[in-house]
């Protein structure tokens, strides 16, 4: 049994991808980067995507856009990002930008010379010089991030500028082209558009500071230029002192609005832990313990409960950190995109499960909560980009306590729906196996409690959403696909409750379980099909 569990966990662990950064940085550069202590700069607060963030977050997200998630050993994300930024000219003709789709790769390769096409096919990366435009080159020159030699080298790389528009419009290439464009934007340094504080509340681009443009005082410009020059000339001592100067100036200029050391440190930890989605392993292990504990091996209840509590606490810490670093204020918990909704529903399912377990002491609710949390977090773990793992600013329309209450209550409902699904499947399996013990009755009673939670929270959540819709758009109901399918989920539960009341006692459990399975299917339809294909007004949710 233990071997089987171990084998399962190894299979479910993500395969370690190749260190993508090794193909971009040569040995000498890797050595220079690995020796740099950029911790002060990693912790430096910058303005990014509408919120205060640490530079580490910017570096990770911008490198991720270029397809450089995994770096050579010892090289920090901030060092790698600053290398690509300050030394941009040196990388213009190197394969840096990831091309994520094979059809796009072939379409690009057809338009390149033999050597560049071969490199593209081997590395799945495109030199930025293929897509760079004149304005961007001139901007790099004026910021001192590229020299004339780089400019001349880039000029001989075949340009794809004429083909980009046509390829973007071609069916099936739109999304890969968008990703390539995002990578290109990251290479140009768009992540640093508001990274230099020149006065409290006034931020500007690093390019502007390097070019010494108006509005940037001489001290700030000089500090950033020193850092750039020391970096480009591989002057270790110069880099060290310039890093300190830049970080100190940033703190002084930003004044009281600068995020606290605790929040910035927490953000670094949050990044390094990959948003803590690895906690799915804890919940999966807890589930494996809760299965035997529920069917009779009571001695496993304590370790199962301990593991569930521990996983829940870690997830709660992750939730609290995300809330703090999002800067959205106390009235806006992090529940505004799919990643946040899914991870919050995992946390809430675990809390509901533990609360019921405390009262019920049968194992079934904890089994359901742990399993649901494990599956939800596994989705977030595998698809962080697709689900929106990056913390970003909130659309002003969503910045409302009514909205937060609406989403929060609906997420409790979704957590209960997920739990009821697990309980229902276990009940149906037990019924199919004609289990004679206490288990089916226990699970059915627990399921009814969870169904009640799901029903009233969905109803209350829909009402709160209607109240917000009335304030935001002047209409409390609009038959938008998302709200319609939330209503359908509620209707399925109401139908299930009424069917249970009308059914013979022997059939109540099966009817309830079947209704819960249908409700979960409806909820998943809402999460997947509606979110990605039918969404109208809830497009930003």
């Amino acid at each position: 049994m233990r071997r089987a569990i171990l084998a399962l966990m190894i299979v479910m662990l993500p395969a370690s991808p190749a260190a993508a950064g090794e193909g971009v940085f040569d040995a000498e550069t890797t050595d220079f980067l690995a020796r740099r202590d950029t911790s002060e700069l990693e912790l430096m607060g910058v303005l990014y995507r509408g919120r205060s963030a640490v530079l580490d977050t910017v570096a990770r997200q911008q490198l991720s856009r270029m397809g450089l998630k995994d770096l050579p050993a010892g090289v920090s994300h901030t060092a790698a990002y600053l290398e690509l930024y300050f030394n941009a000219g040196a990388y213009l003709d190197k394969p840096v930008l990831a091309v994520s789709s094979d059809p796009l790769l072939e379409a690009l390769a057809e338009r390149l010379d033999d050597e560049t096409a071969r490199t593209l096919r081997e590395t799945h990366r495109l030199p930025p010089a293929c897509v760079v435009d004149q304005q961007a080159l001139e901007s790099m020159l004026s910021a001192g991030r590229a020299g004339m030699a780089d400019y001349r080298r880039a000029a001989v790389v075949p340009s794809l500028a004429d083909a980009l528009g046509e390829l973007s419009a071609r069916a099936g290439l739109g999304l890969p082209m968008e990703r390539l464009a995002a990578g290109y934007g990251a290479f140009l340094g768009r992540g640093l558009r508001a990274a230099v504080c020149v006065a409290p509340g006034k931020w500007t681009a690093v390019d502007t500071a390097l070019a010494g443009s108006d509005g940037v005082d001489a001290e700030v410009a000089d500090a950033w230029c020193s850092l750039r020059d020391a970096w480009r000339s591989r002057d270790a001592d110069g880099v060290k002192s310039a890093l300190r100067r830049v970080a100190e100036l940033q703190r002084r200029r930003a004044g009281e609005r600068y995020p606290s050391q605790a929040v910035r440190t927490a953000e670094i930890a949050y990044n390094r832990m990959g948003q803590f989605t690895f906690v799915w392993i804890g919940f999966a292990a807890a589930t494996l313990l809760w299965i035997p504990a529920t069917v009779g091996r009571r001695r496993l209840r304590l370790p199962a409960a301990g593991l569930t509590v521990l996983s829940t606490l870690v997830l709660a810490v992750a939730f609290a950190i995300r809330w703090a670093i999002s800067g959205r204020g106390l009235h806006m918990p992090p529940v505004l995109n799919q990643f946040e909704a899914v991870t919050a529903s995992a946390l809430l399912a675990a809390i509901i499960a533990l609360a019921l377990e405390l009262r019920w002491k049968r194992g079934a609710p904890a089994l359901a909560g742990s399993f649901y949390a494990a599956v939800a977090l596994l989705c977030a773990f595998w698809m962080p980009g697709r689900m929106g793992a990056d913390v970003s600013a909130t659309h002003g329309l969503l910045d409302s306590p009514l909205m937060a209450a609406h989403v929060g209550v609906i997420i409790v409902g979704h957590a209960a729906v997920g739990m009821s699904f697990v309980l229902s499947v276990v009940y149906l399996l037990a019924a199919a196996a004609r289990h004679q013990g206490q288990l089916p009755g226990d699970i059915d009673r627990c399921n009814v409690i969870v169904v009640h939670i799901a029903t009233w929270t969905l109803a209350l959540g829909i009402v709160l959403g209607a109240m917000w819709g009335d304030v935001a758009w002047g209409r409390w109901w609009g038959w938008d696909a998302k709200e319609t399918w939330a209503l359908i989920t509620l209707l399925v539960y109401i139908a299930t409750i009424h069917a249970r009341l009308a059914a013979r006692p022997r059939r109540r459990g099966v009817l309830t379980a079947a209704g819960c399975v249908v409700a979960t299917a409806v909820m998943l339809f809402n999460w997947i099909v509606v979110n990605y294909y039918l969404t109208e007004l809830h497009g930003y949710a």
């Binding site: 303005l47 990014y48 995507r49 509408g50 919120r51 558009r193 508001a194 509340g201 931020w203 970003s392 600013a393 909130t394 659309h395 002003g396 329309l397 910045d399 409302s400 009514l402 909205m403 009640h452 029903t455 009233w456 109803a459 209350l460 009402v463 209607a466 109240m467 917000w468 009335d470 304030v471 935001a472 758009w473 002047g474 209409r475 409390w476 109901w477 038959w479 696909a481 319609t484 399918w485 209503l487 359908i488 209707l491 399925v492 109401i494 139908a495 009424h498 409806v522 294909y533 039918l534 109208e536």
Partner: protein, 447 residues
Amino acid sequence: VLLVALTVYVAVASIVAAVGDEADDLYRHPLLIIISAAMCANMLAATFTRVPTTVAHLGTFLSHGGVVILAVGAATFAFGRVQGDLMTVRTSDGWTPVSAFYINDSNAVYVAVGQKGDFSRTAVNPGALKAGRAGPLNIADERISARAVDYAERTALLPVLQLRMTDADRQRQLELPAGTGVSRRVETETYVIAYRPDIPSSAAVRFVAGSGPVENVPEGKDLILIVGGDDEPPTALTASADGERGRRRLAAGEPVELTVAGEPLSLLLEATVLRPPEEHSADAPAGRAVAVRIASDDWQVTTWIPYADFTELVSGERVETPVGPVYLRYSRRKVSLGGVLRVREAEYLTQPGSVVPRDFRCDVTVETPQGKREAILGLNRPVRIGGLQISQGTWMPDPHHPMRIQLLVNSRPGLVAVWIGCGLTVVGLMYAFYVKPVVLRRKGRRA
């Protein structure tokens, strides 16, 4: 069974609405109304006949009663609601005051005779026009009449010149549609005449400066090419087979003399009207249009008027008539706001260092018969005038330099019933789930 039927109907309607555009029709369909009404009736009957009237069952009464009240409120909202939007435009004197808004599902034709700006309005029903039932339009001049006679759901309107051409032998009435195709030009024994409003008259200089044969014109024939877009009077360019070039500006009602095939030709532009093309091309831009016939005792002209969401954004189609120019606009029906709303300042705020919108804020003054007040209209901060709620719903085309602001206007009939119904339903559910077991347990213990 009724609950399942309602669920299935709503699920199917949601998917059909997502792939089509008839959402409103689906959710106002008689079948949905019948299912909902039957469910409410069934629920009331079952509650009062089968549920004991005890404290323990109070939750059932509350939630079922709540659903019925909610259904009444929802029906009132669905069938009594007025939904639309208003627009204010920035001028040198500030934002224009707004006293009316446009209703979404009601169309109107606006007609002004003689001078722009004094438009009379008549509601028109596209359904009736589609069925061939013409509608008379209000017009402030007894010498002429106007009537909406046709409707097209999707068409790209084509400008058509109505010309009268007179040479030594005869007089010819001609309708010349715009376009490049051979089918759209008119060919006689001696000349070819075509209309290209997409060529600005400034480009005619190059044409006139050229010499030699003209492309796509049969050998030995002259060409009359009329050019000029919407914002400028048309110009007639002539090119004779022997290389002579000519250029004359056209004005409605004023004949010009041309020389074609060595003979004098009088060309009179009577009117420029819009028509749907005979063959609709697949890539024609979506657009509604209504055909209006203007007539006097001995004269009539029919022109198509393209639809515009806001009359403020279009100058209107101009039709020359014996009593002077008539201006026509086709838009939505305007309804009074019950007061005057004036934007004093408009501000578009983004999240710091980002393009994500934070707020779209307007400082407004509202004047009603009850008095004058100032308010802030922003995201999640609507302003109310009487029974109407005005919200920020859509963005300006250029948020940082707004030239016009569009605001949502909604009436919300039945809202009180909706909130009461929602409240009773949720409280009833909580009571049934959590209070009823306690009441029954206590009752059991007492027994």
